[in-house]
């Protein structure tokens, strides 16, 4: 279980997170929605300690996140970054197999490569991309390589930052199914950021809406359409008018 309590974060004078409270139960899929620039990515980074919150606490299975705790947590963790964040000095397969080629999970090169190619296949990429470099792929392909890297070691906790942005609708469907499968079949805990409402419906058990630095609404996906929350309603129907200003 991942618990965020009263997380605050400012960058200079910009107060991005203003008291985020959120609980993600183990083995469930939580989707964070919210306008761009509201701090969704920053929220994920606060959990990982990539960004240090100014205030508030992150707990993993009840224990506060310490340096040692973080190391153990990351051992069974994977993340897809919003911009894919592939290592441009390494070929695709070595990106995917990064963890399998060094550290505690190291294994023979041939085996690591085989696993990488299998994971690439799962995100809809053929083995002939394996030896290319990230710069030779389109944005959507890079995103899927990032996804393959995130799931390469079958982690128990996975964060996906906008997994379907930049993908065509069919490929987005494939990725949605994959994420759902990872949660249902592997029992993984997933946190996904997305703007794509079909993705939200396909992936989530629970939905949390971030607005003005706080979680404005959270609840099971079944309640999303009857949330009675004007912010959620405006967002899921994509209305230009409502409580959320279109100019931000």
């Amino acid at each position: 279980m991942i618990e965020l309590t009263d997380i605050h974060k400012s960058f200079g004078s910009k107060h991005v997170l203003r008291g985020v409270n959120l609980t993600v139960p183990t083995g469930t899929s939580t989707v964070i929605i919210g306008g761009s620039g509201t701090g969704k990515s920053v929220t994920l980074k606060c959990i990982l300690g990539l960004v240090t919150p100014d205030q508030g606490e992150v707990r993993i299975n009840g224990a506060p996140m310490t340096d040692d705790g973080r190391e153990a947590f990351l051992e069974r963790f994977g993340m897809l970054f919003q911009g894919a964040a592939l290592f441009d000095s390494l070929p695709i397969w070595q990106n995917v197999a990064f963890r399998l080629l060094r550290g505690n999970l190291k294994r023979p090169k041939a085996e690591a490569r085989e696993i990488a190619i299998e994971k690439l296949r799962r995100v809809g990429l053929t083995p002939d991309v394996a030896n290319l470099f990230p710069a030779e792929l389109s944005g959507g392909m890079q995103k899927r390589v990032g996804l393959a890297r995130a799931i390469a070691t079958d982690p128990q906790v996975i964060f996906f930052d906008e997994p379907t942005t930049g993908l065509d609708p069919i490929m987005a469907g494939v990725i949605n199914d994959l994420i759902r499968e990872i949660v249902t079949e592997m029992g993984a805990t997933a946190m996904t950021i997305t703007h794509d409402m079909s993705s939200v419906r396909a992936i989530s058990d629970n939905v949390a809406m971030l607005h003005e630095g706080v979680i404005k609404w959270t609840g099971p996906i079944a309640d999303l359409d009857q949330s009675g929350d004007p912010y959620v309603d405006q967002f899921i129907h994509g209305r230009a008018t409502g409580p959320i200003a279109a100019v931000r």
């Binding site: 990539l50 990351l74 994977g78 993340m79 970054f81 911009g83 964040a85 290592f87 550290g103």
Partner: protein
């Protein structure tokens, strides 16, 4: 009122620069710790040896060649005022190995390596590759900084040694080709008056400069601001800081080694 504001401003700047010095010192300690504690990334280290050391050979060699040649002309001109032209071989050698080899070689490597390291790591920072490393249980200090700092510390002395030889050879070419020195006398004078510590001190300087170059490159890269502009600024700052640090360290080391 104005006085208070001025003092306040001075205080802020002082505190600010103390804080940056503290951050840089902390970074240095962490980098050194990362070099000596596992895991070690051997492939990254070999790669750094190649890019920092081997590929710097041409620029360091050319710098040394022209410097040694110009030095011979200058010393000949100066020496002739005292009828002491015969000092050219030994002064060229001493000047090269003690001072100009390490300093000019170091500055050229700073321009080449501090900039590329800062730009590479800075780009990794702004494209979240550093964050990705952390999520893949890989410490950026050990994976990125340690191999580069170690490789530079070990290879810059070698570059300096090569530069010393080429620089002396540059002086030899001018001395024998233009200034009328006998080839074997020139070489003999070079070797006879050169002491072990002349060369040794230059190599130690090279190691310190190499350490500073890679460290500043990594430091500014890791602390790069956002976007292309952030990387550009980090690159520029890394080259400036590395060059100034080299010159300052050179003074301190010279003082330590040779002040009576």
């Amino acid at each position: 009122m104005a006085v208070a504001r001025t003092l306040g401003g001075i205080g802020r700047v002082t505190l600010g620069s103390m804080a940056s010095i503290g951050r840089a010192a902390l970074f240095m300690i962490r980098a050194v710790a990362a070099i000596f504690t596992p895991p070690f990334y051997v492939r990254e280290f070999w790669h750094a040896l190649l890019t920092i050391g081997y590929f710097s050979l041409p620029v360091v060699g050319l710098t040394a060649l022209f410097t040694g040649a110009a030095l011979a002309l200058q010393i000949y001109a100066g020496g002739s005022r005292f009828q002491a032209e015969s000092v050219v071989p030994s002064i060229v050698a001493i000047g090269m190995v003690r001072e100009l080899g390490p300093v000019l070689g170091g500055l050229m490597v700073a321009a080449r390596v501090a900039s590329s390291v800062a730009a590479e790591i800075g780009t990794m920072k702004v494209t979240e590759q550093i964050d990705a490393l952390v999520t893949l249980s890989t410490d950026p200090m050990r994976y990125l900084t340690a191999p580069r700092v170690l490789a530079a510390t070990l290879t810059v002395p070698v570059l300096v040694a090569v530069g010393d030889i080429i620089g002396i050879f540059g002086g030899y070419l001018v001395g024998t080709g233009k200034l009328g020195f006998n080839a074997s006398t020139y070489l003999q004078n070079t070797v006879t008056y050169l002491e072990f510590w002349d060369v040794g001190s230059g190599l130690v300087k090279g190691a310190v400069f190499g350490f500073l170059i890679a460290l500043t490159g990594c430091y500014y890269g890791m602390n790069s601001g956002r976007g292309a502009q952030g990387v550009g600024r980090a690159t520029k700052s890394a080259v400036v800081a590395a060059s100034v640090l080299i010159l300052a360290a050179n003074y301190v080391l010279t003082e330590v080694f040779f002040a009576a």
